[in-house]
């Protein structure tokens, strides 16, 4: 049991990091970014190509891939900020389905539809706990998710830029009328979340299913995790991600219910939606 739970922690850290990104995007730039994992996936694939085909050192290829993911995300953010700045959250979110499909298709065209030959950046055990070996990837992923969530909270509450971002998220027009530059700030949020997603995917991809669709569809468990925090609280998003990862690991260990593992994020979403809507009256809720 413990082995299964700890084995799921690395994936949980990945879900958590992506969920923090989704939470940031939803809270600060009014978008549920369906292409969040896809931009990270594409950056990671380019990193693999740079290392295997172009012969770059692994660290340099990874850095360039991560930067490309940030730039891609910033480009999508530029589109949203330029043409959809006054659009509803639904319209802005729907727009991100375009880049999601585009990036999956582009990665099929450029890199094929097989899993990529990732070279692990991190490998080997970190320590042993209760007779179970905990890998370096697990430790780094959990730490990354926690550090990102804490850093986000500190930036939002303790810095001038954070105050401006919160102001923008509450009353975008009023913020602009006070001279807060909404477009550069929102593009910076897109770029930062693109970079974080790519870092998380580059670290974990070597140790899990890493074809384009599997990685891009990490958006589903990440959304489930972000939903625990209502897409507003990064701390709860981390808890959601780690819990989902641990649950997946546990379920995978039990043969009778192992199949449920694939549906776990959906179950998580349905249960959370039912729970959050429990006090709604049918007429007013629908």
């Amino acid at each position: 049991m413990l082995q299964g739970a700890l084995a799921g922690l690395a994936a949980g850290g990945l879900y958590a990091a992506l969920a923090v990104c989704l939470t940031l995007m939803s809270r600060l730039v009014r978008v549920v970014n369906f292409s969040q994992a896809a931009t990270g996936m594409f950056g990671a694939f380019v990193a693999v190509w740079l290392v295997t085909a172009a012969g770059l050192p692994i660290w340099l290829g990874s850095v360039l891939g991560i930067l490309l993911a940030g730039a891609l995300s910033a480009a999508i953010g530029w589109i949203a900020a330029t043409w959809l700045s006054e659009a509803s959250t639904t319209a802005r979110s729907a727009m991100t389905v375009g880049p999601l499909l585009l990036l999956i298709s582009l990665s099929f065209i450029l890199f094929g539809n097989k899993p990529q030959p990732f070279s692990p950046i991190l490998g080997g055990p970190a320590f042993e706990f209760g007779g179970v070996v905990v890998s370096q990837v697990t430790v780094v992923m959990v730490l990354l998710a926690v550090v990102v969530a804490v850093a986000v909270q500190l930036i939002l509450t303790k810095t001038a830029v954070g105050t401006q971002l919160r102001a923008l998220s509450e009353r975008p027009t009023t913020a602009e009328l006070l001279g807060i530059p909404s477009k550069p700030l929102s593009i910076a949020v897109w770029a930062a979340t693109g970079v974080i997603s790519a870092i998380a995917i580059v670290i974990v991809a070597p140790s899990q299913s890493n074809d384009a669709t599997s990685l891009a569809m990490l958006i589903v468990p990440a959304s489930a995790a972000a939903l625990l925090g209502g897409f507003t609280r990064p701390g709860l998003a981390v808890v959601g991600g780690l819990a989902l990862g641990v649950l997946s690991g546990l379920v995978a260990q039990i043969e009778e219910v192992a199949l449920i593992r694939n549906f776990l994020p959906f179950l998580f979403i349905v249960v959370l939606l039912l729970w959050t809507q429990r006090k709604e009256v049918w007429d007013s809720a629908r």
């Binding site: 105050t163 919160r166 509450e170 009353r171 027009t173 009328l177 001279g179 807060i180 530059p181």
Partner: protein, 233 residues
């Protein structure tokens, strides 16, 4: 001389023009009142000047430079500040955080708070927990800290008791005395005319009166005629 000139401006929303062919000049150190019945287009005109909506005709000139094509943020950088209708505070931000959005230095912050002693004891409270009058104090304190050259104020009294609004009005005069040109849209017509030098009355999207505020103060017949859309200029 520094001035904000609105030259033959038309603002449209959806089907057609909401307010058309308005010309006025806002002069530093003075309050210009813009009054008229509901739906006359006053808010749309302010929105057009600050860039919330684009103008469909005419020019807006600040210190000799046309600004109607500039972004909202670029207009703010040139010294134009727009206080929107209602209570334009950021509810989850504390009073201090609200003020920090325009107060560039600690001294600016201290000066802004110093004018509103009521805010000092609520400085770390989220703005959402303040009363309506206190929220408008936050908005005014933020305006003081921004040190605007031209200030557009839209129905600051909305949702406030007249007695509360009358406490706030001297601050608007103070902002003008500090050198800002103020364009004041207000439902309490006589209070607005009381502190204004120039006044415009708009009705049905057109200017019905443009002249000294004192003439409207002293002649209620003239004010009523302009409100009903007749030409009183």
């Amino acid at each position: 001389m520094s001035s904000l000139v609105v030259d033959n401006v038309t603002v449209s929303r959806g089907a057609g023009p909401v307010i058309a062919n308005v010309s006025l000049t806002v002069t530093p150190g003075e309050v210009t009142a813009l009054v008229g019945p509901n739906g006359a287009g006053k808010t749309s005109l302010l929105d057009g000047i600050s860039g919330v909506v684009g103008v469909s005709g005419g020019r807006i000139v600040l210190d000799g430079d046309p600004i109607e094509k500039l972004s909202r943020v670029a207009r703010v950088k040139r010294g134009l500040l727009h206080i929107e209708q209602g209570r334009a505070v950021f509810p989850s931000l504390t009073v201090r955080e609200n003020l920090s959005l325009t107060a560039r230095t600690g001294a600016d912050m201290d000066a802004a708070i110093g004018r509103f002693p009521e805010l000092e004891k609520r400085i770390n409270s989220p703005a959402a927990l303040l009363s309506g009058g206190e929220q408008q104090m936050v908005v005014l304190a933020r305006a003081f800290a921004a040190k605007p050259r031209f200030l557009l104020i839209d129905e600051m009294s909305l949702g406030l008791a007249p007695v509360v609004f009358m406490r706030l009005l001297p601050y608007v005069e103070e902002l003008a005395q500090s050198g800002a040109g103020v364009l004041l849209v207000e439902q309490f017509t006589h209070l607005a005319l009381g502190i204004a030098r120039e006044a415009l009355v708009v009705a049905g999207g057109k200017v019905g009166y443009h002249g000294p505020a004192s003439a409207l103060r002293d002649d209620s017949e003239l004010l009523h005629r302009a409100y009903l859309g007749g030409s009183a200029a």
